[in-house]
Subunit: 522 residues, 2 copies
C-alpha cells in the first residue's frame, strides 16, 4: 500500500500541507495517492537523525554493512511485480526494461556489499616509524579512507530504479559508511516510496541505526533546503545540466562548501572513420538508429552527435540511420521531458544550415517521434547551440569536408561522458589527432560499438569533464563510485590496538595495503 508519506528515518511523516501527484506518462492520468511534500521541520529532522545515525553507522563492521546492502537487494526483489508495475506505470518504460533495471540495481547493491566485505577499498597506506632517522626521527603514519557524514541523493527520472532511491549513489554512500537522505524524484513517487520502504525494512532486519536512511518528497525548494543544511556533507545527482549546475552553485556558496557529484549527460560524439565506415555503412546506420532510439533516447550516453567525412558511404549511413528512425515513437518519462524534447529539437532544426527529412510533427500526448538532422562542419563549428544536448531520440550528423575539419570538430567539443571511434585500427593511427582530442574531452572512449550500455564494474568511468559532470575525477557507476563519499585521514603514532583494523600492524582485516612502499596483504 502506497501511503504518500515521507520517511523521517523509519517514521512515516506527512506534516506538510502541500502535496504532489504521480502521473502515468502514457495517458497523463494521475495515480490515486497524494504525496505529502516535506515540511522544513521534517527536512531538519531527517538531517538530525542522519547526524545521529552517523555516530554509530560509521563504526558498523564491514560485514554488517554488507549484510545491510544485500538485504536491500533482497527486499527490492521481494516487492515482486508490484514494483515492476508501478515503475512501468510511472515511467512509461516496458516491463522488460524495468526488470532488467531492477537486476542492475540489485547487482550494484551486491557489488558494493562485496567491495565492503573484502575491505581493500579503504586504500590503507602505512609508513612505519624510523626512530633513529637523522636528523629527525620519522613518525609512524597510517592513512585510510573514512566516511564523511550525511549524503543527499537526487534520483534521476530516466532510471527510476538504478539511478534513483536505491541506485548507485545511495548504494555507494551507504557502503562507504554514510547515512543517506533521498529527495524522491517527482516523476516516480510511488516507485520511490516502495523502494524507500525496502531500504528501511532492510535497515531494521540488519539492525542499522535509526536515521541511516530517510526519504523526503518535494520539488526544488526541498532539494535546496537539503543542500544548504550545514550538517549535509555531499550530494549525488543525476539529471540536467541546469539542475546539476544549480545545486553545484548552491553547495559552493555555503559557509562550508560541499562536493556535488552531478552527472549531467552529454551529446556523446561518435566519429565515423573512413575505412570502417566503408565496410558496411548500412549496418552501421541501423546500429546507431537502434542506439539513438533505445529507451526513447533517454540515456545519458545517447549518441547525440555523429561526425563523418563526406562520401558515398556516409550518404548510405545517413540514409540507413534515417530509415531506422522513421516511424520510431515512444512514450517519454513525463510531460515536461516530452515538451522539452520537441522544444529544443525544433529550435535546433531552425538553426542555420540544419537540414532534415522525415516527420517532425509532435505526436500525441507524451510521445516522442525520433529524428535525425544534418549539418555541415562549418556551420557546426560556428554555432555552439548545435553542441547542446537534446534529451530524447534525436541525433545530429555533422558532415565534414576533410579529415582536418573532423579534427577541428573534435577540438571544439566540450566535456563528454563518452566518445566513440567507429574505426579500424588503421583509422585510429591515421586520425591520431582526433583520438588525442577526444581523449581529453571524455570519461570513456570506445573503439566501435555504441556508447549506450554502461557496464557496472571496477574499470568503468561514468562521468567526464564539465559539463558532462561537475567533477571529472569521479564516476557514478561502478565500484569506484564509493570514493565520492569518503576522505582520507592519517593517524600519527597511534596505538596499534586503537587503530581501525585495516591499519593495525597484524592486518586482521586482510586487506591490500601499501606498507613502506610495498603492496602487500601481510
Amino acid at each position: 500500500m502506497i501511503k504518500g508519506t515521507n520517511f523521517i528515518g523509519s517514521t512515516p511523516s506527512d506534516q506538510g500541507e502541500e502535496t504532489l501527484f504521480s502521473y502515468n506518462p502514457v495517458d497523463g492520468s494521475a495515480f490515486a495517492e497524494s504525496f505529502a511534500i516535506a515540511s522544513t521541520d521534517e527536512i531538519n529532522q531527517a538531517v538530525d537523525k542522519a547526524v545521529s545515525a552517523f555516530q554509530t553507522y560509521q563504526a558498523v563492521s564491514p560485514q554488517n554493512k554488507a549484510d545491510f546492502l544485500d538485504a536491500i537487494a533482497d527486499e527490492i526483489m521481494a516487492l515482486g511485480d508490484k514494483l515492476v508495475e508501478r515503475a512501468c506505470g510511472e515511467s512509461g518504460l516496458p516491463a522488460g526494461r524495468i526488470q532488467g533495471e531492477r537486476g542492475r540495481t540489485c547487482g550494484q547493491l551486491k557489488m558494493f556489499a562485496s567491495l565492503v566485505r573484502e575491505g581493500s577499498w579503504v586504500d590503507a597506506v602505512i609508513d612505519t616509524a624510523q626512530p633513529d632517522r637523522d636528523p629527525i626521527p620519522k613518525p609512524d603514519l597510517r592513512m585510510m579512507q573514512i566516511p564523511i557524514g550525511p549524503v543527499v541523493v537526487f534520483g534521476a527520472s530516466n532510471f527510476p530504479l538504478a539511478f534513483s532511491t536505491a541506485g548507485g549513489d545511495t548504494a555507494s554512500a551507504l557502503a562507504a559508511g554514510n547515512p543517506v537522505i533521498v529527495k524522491g524524484h517527482e516523476s516516480h513517487l510511488g516507485t520511490n516510496e516502495l523502494v524507500s520502504k525496502a531500504i528501511l525494512a532492510a535497515a531494521e532486519k540488519t539492525g542499522m541505526p535509526e536515521g541511516v536512511f530517510s526519504m523526503v518528497n518535494g520539488g526544488i525548494p526541498v532539494g535546496q533546503q537539503l543542500v544548504k543544511h550545514p550538517a549535509v556533507k555531499a550530494v549525488g545527482f543525476t539529471g540536467s545540466l541546469r539542475g546539476g549546475r544549480a545545486l553545484f552553485d548552491l553547495a559552493n556558496q555555503r559557509d562550508e562548501p560541499i562536493p556535488v557529484y552531478a552527472e549531467m549527460g552529454s551529446i556523446n560524439p561518435t566519429f565515423l572513420m573512413p575505412e570502417k565506415l566503408g565496410e558496411n555503412p548500412d549496418a552501421l546506420g541501423k546500429s546507431f538508429a537502434g542506439s539513438v532510439a533505445l529507451g526513447v533516447g533517454q540515456f545519458c550516453t545517447n549518441p547525440g552527435l555523429l561526425v563523418g567525412i563526406k562520401s558515398t558511404a556516409l550518404d548510405t549511413f545517413s540514409q540507413s540511420l534515417e530509415e531506422g528512425l522513421t516511424e520510431v515513437t515512444g512514450t517519454m518519462l513525463n510531460a515536461k521531458i516530452a515538451e522539452s524534447y520537441y522544444q529544443h529539437r525544433d529550435a535546433l532544426l531552425n538553426e542555420e544550415g540544419v537540414s532534415h527529412q522525415g516527420n517532425t510533427d509532435k505526436a500525441e500526448g507524451n510521445t516522442a517521434r525520433a529524428l535525425t538532422a544534418t549539418v555541415s562542419a562549418t556551420a557546426f563549428l560556428e554555432n555552439p547551440r548545435l553542441h547542446e544536448e537534446i534529451f530524447g531520440p534525436f541525433t545530429l550528423l555533422v558532415v565534414c569536408e576533410s579529415a582536418t575539419e573532423m579534427e577541428a570538430v573534435a577540438a571544439t567539443l566540450t566535456g563528454q561522458l563518452t566518445g566513440t571511434l567507429v574505426a579500424t585500427e588503421n583509422d585510429l593511427t591515421q586520425n591520431d589527432t582526433v583520438v588525442k582530442n577526444l581523449e581529453q574531452k571524455v570519461g570513456r572512449i570506445l573503439f566501435n560499438g555504441v556508447p549506450t550500455g554502461v557496464e557496472v564494474c571496477a574499470a568503468m568511468h561514468h562521468g567526464g569533464p564539465y559539463p558532462a559532470s561537475t567533477n571529472a575525477k569521479y564516476t557514478s557507476v561502478g565500484s569506484a563510485a564509493i570514493s565520492r563519499f569518503t576522505r582520507p585521514i592519517s593517524y600519527q603514532n597511534w596505538p596499534d590496538s586503537l587503530l581501525p583494523t585495516e591499519l593495525q600492524s597484524s592486518n586482521p582485516s586482510g586487506v591490500w595495503r601499501l606498507v613502506d612502499g610495498e603492496r602487500t596483504k601481510s
Copy 2:
C-alpha cells in the same frame, strides 16, 4: 644574476609597465632589482604555451618525466649558497632552516620522480571482456589516471622553497604530466626567479617541450586572470583562508568550473588529557612552547589551540608554556604578516573572558613577540571569533571544567589540518567521544608529539575538512598529492597495441593493476 623578468615558457619577458620590489623583512630594506608585473598578453601567452606543451608533455615517457624532476632538484642544488642567501634575505628565516627546506624540496622532487618511474600511481584497473555473457556480452574496459592540462600554482610565503615555485604543487602537477604556470609569490621574488630558472634549465637539459613551465609575477589581478583563463584546468594554493576562498569562488563561477586545491591552515587543536598531562606537565609546556614558536609560529600546523581540564597539572603546564614563550621574538616573513599578527592577536585578547600575562607590546619592525592567552571553555564555546587562526607565535589555552566540557569543545570545532591527543592509551579510551569528534574534523590525528613537522611520505594527509582546505579529499604533501592533477578515463574495447602501456595486456610497464578483481603485477 636576477633580472626581474617573467618567464613565458623559457623566454624572459618584461612587457608590463608596473613593477614589484622584494624586501628584507629584518630591516625593511628593498632589494635592488625591480620585478616586472606580467601583462595580460604575457599571461595569455604563458597559458597558450602551456596548452601547446601539454600535447607533447602528456605523452613524454615516465622515465623522461622522472629525469626532468630529478634534474630540477639537481639544478636547485647547483644554485648553491646564492639561493640560500636570497631565500634567507627575503624571508627572514635562518640559513639552517632554508637549507633544510631546500633538502625537503629536492626530496619531494625525487620522490615524485620515483613514483613516476615505478608507474603504479596511475591506478590501472582492467575488466576483461566476456563475449559470451548472457543476456549481453561484457565489453573490455580499462581505466587509468591521465593528466588534465595546464595547472596554476600559487606559492606560499612561509615555505619559500618547499611550498613555492618548485614545491609540492609544482612537483606533483609536473609528475602527473601537466604543464605548470607559477604565480611568483610577492614576498620572495628573487628566490622565485632563481628557482624558476633552475626548472627551465632542467627542462632544456632533459628535452621537455617549450611551455611546460612558465612563471609570471604580479598581485591579485594576475592571479585572478590565470584562474579565469578557460584553458587552465586546476589550481594549487597554500595561504590564507581569505585568499584560498576567493580563488575557490572565482574558479567555481567559471563557465567550466575547475578544482582549486587550497590549503588554508588551521588552529590545530591539541587536547591535553588528564593522565598524560599529570605525568610531566612542565616538560609538556616547554615542548608546546617550542612548537608554537617554531618558525616564528608561521606553520600551517602551528598548535594554536590547547584544551585541558582545570587541574594543578594544567596550571603547571600553563606556567611552563608561558615561560617558554616569554622573551621569544622573531622576524616574520613580511610586513603584512607581522602587522596582521598583532592586529588579530590583540583583537582576540580583547574578547570577553580572554586573559593573559606577559608582554603584549609590538616589537620593532617586523618582529613578532610570542604570547599565550587563556579562556574558559564556556567563553570559547560561545564565541566563534576565538576559533579563528592567529598566524604567528600565539596559542590559546582553553580551560574546561569537566571532561564533558572538553567533549563540547571538540564537537564545536570546524575543519582542521591536524588534531593532537596528548594522552595515555587509557586517556584515549576514557575520552572516546573527544577522539571520535576530532577524527571527524581533522586530516591528521596525532597521539602525543606536536603537530608541526609534516612528514613527506605516502601515508601523509596534509589537508582536512573546510576551512582547513577547500577539498578534504586531497593532500598537498606526500605522494598522494599527485592525484589532485589527474582524472580517470576508461577505454572500451580498445586495440591492445594502441592502449597506454600501463593498460596493455602484457603489462610492459610492470605496474600494479586490478585485473578482474585481482591485484597483480602480471
